[in-house]
Amino acid sequence: MSGARSERLVDEDAAVALLESGMTIAIGEPTPMALVRQIVRRELRDLVVIASGLALDMLIAAGCVRKTLSYYAGGGFGVPVAPSFRRAAERGDIEVWECDEGILTSGLEAAGKDLPFLPWRGGVGTSLPAVNPDLKLITDPVRGETLLAVPAIRPDVAILHAAQSDAFGNVQHHGGPGWIDLFLQRAATRCIVQVERIVSNEAIRANPWATTIGRADAVVRLPWGAHPWYSRGWHVQDSPFLADYVAAATAAAERDEREALERWLDHWCREPATHTDYLERVGLRRLLALHEY
């Protein structure tokens, strides 16, 4: 009748072009590693990140991070504390906005609701308000209880990894969107989602209840884009690959031996120009072996 509906499907370059130095970038889980690698490759700087695990550690190792809103930087990939995070935090190279999951989601919810703050109980009695002065103790106006006032957290961009989307940004996760992805999407000014595959609009409408994000600002098809992390419903994590990173990052953090880490970042982040280049380096055999779901 009068023009056609605009697509929100973009290519890798266009997606990364939405990210800039100095931004607050929120990184979902399952982790959108393809976009994270591009952040390293393009040498974005002074980022404020909401992230954990490999993505957080790699971005710190590559010098991209000024500040992290941090609830957890450990476990998950085989070390008690992510090595680059640990070193940078101990030296004061990065600023840490200390919180927990309930505080973080409260701040994100406040942003989504266009409220300056939300109250939260978890954290009362702990050191969190002492080490993070943004968390104010308040007396609630109804029953006089002591609560934390968590200020709104407003990321510039959320980057997420999901199972599928149509060309119009209707995203559907498999097996749940991870614990924080929807909070990030609702709070962020823009949302970029990398997906395993693009499906028809009809496929979305056939099960609209499964639509987890109704209008992503950009979707980009990046199959295996969460590697070496897992992708829900598609493949498991690549544990030996993660162990390689941890070894290199630990040597850099604990013994100031940065060579292996820089080699790792060069080989896996800086040299491959595209995600497909990266996947070719990983190798099809290795990728397919992760598919025992």
Binding site: R5, A111, R186
Partner: protein, 267 residues
């Protein structure tokens, strides 16, 4: 034949076409229940010039620009309206992304409207405990009108009982006590009411004081009739045009692709 078609255009059809023309591609259009004129308007706009509009009915979000026609089942209160859904706003929490409502457009009714576009769905009377007329309640209108980019006040009648100098109770804040920064001072991020639309006329708001101003009179309606049926002094510009009639094409689209049962013609 086309001349006939526009000549027998009903006021409800006229208003649906007026609103439709005022909606922009890319906007998110939310219509509550029992508002047939706005419901027809957003469907018509979507089909005619809104390939990127999104319609929200009963918590379901859809883009159905590609469909041949968008009939109106029971004016929003028939669950079949969700058949075209792409996603549900009630998947999580309905009000958890209000920060993005600046691109949303909404419509409210009212049992009272004051000169600054504040409206009342609560009731009529001095004493809240003994109302002379108990209204239906404010539904989601206080929350929606606080945040949406703009909204339209759409009324089924235009009488001094509706247009009052002061609402007995305010359920949605238009421009408060008046003034261009009235909403900012109250901390209301949304853009406020744009037009007030009645069976007699269309009104907008003055730029400085944000007071209701006559914008156009519907065919056959006199200025005196509007004055007599408004319980306060409207701002009247020097020249008040007639509300622009729909084009034959708009009417054809409305009747053949949206209001296929002729509900608006019978109103």
């Amino acid at each position: 034949m086309e001349a006939d078609m526009t000549a027998d255009c009903s006021i409800a059809e006229l208003l649906a076409c007026f609103i439709a023309r005022d909606l922009n591609d890319g906007e998110e259009l939310q219509v509550g229940i029992a508002l047939p004129i706005p419901e027809a308007a957003v469907r018509l706009a979507h089909l005619t010039h809104g390939p990127n509009m999104e319609l929200i009915f009963l918590g379901a979000r859809m883009n159905v620009h590609h469909l041949d026609h968008l009939p109106m089942p029971a004016f929003g209160w028939d669950n079949r309206v969700v058949r075209w859904t792409e996603s549900f706003s009630d998947r999580g929490h309905r009000f958890d992304q209000v920060k993005d409502w600046h691109r949303r457009v909404f419509f409210v009714g009212g049992i009272q409207v004051d000169p600054h576009g504040n409206t009342n769905l609560i009731g009529v009377g001095e004493d809240y405990r003994r109302l002379r007329f108990r209204g239906p309640g404010s539904v989601g209108t206080p929350t929606l009108t606080t945040h949406v980019g703009r909204y339209y006040i759409v009324l089924n009648s235009h009488t001094p009982r509706v247009f009052v100098p002061r609402c007995d109770f305010i359920s949605t804040v238009g421009w408060g006590e008046g003034g261009a920064d009235a909403r900012r001072q109250l901390g209301l991020p949304g853009g406020g009411p744009k037009y007030c639309i009645t069976p007699l006329c269309i009104m907008d708001f003055t730029e400085d004081d944000k007071r209701l101003r006559l914008k156009s009179l519907h065919p056959g309606v006199t200025l005196d009739a509007v004055r007599a049926r408004t319980g306060f002094d409207l701002v009247i510009p020097d020249h008040v045009p007639e509300t622009a009639a729909p084009s034959a094409e708009e009417l054809r689209m409305l009747r053949s692709r949206v209001d296929v049962t002729g509900a608006l013609r019978r109103m």
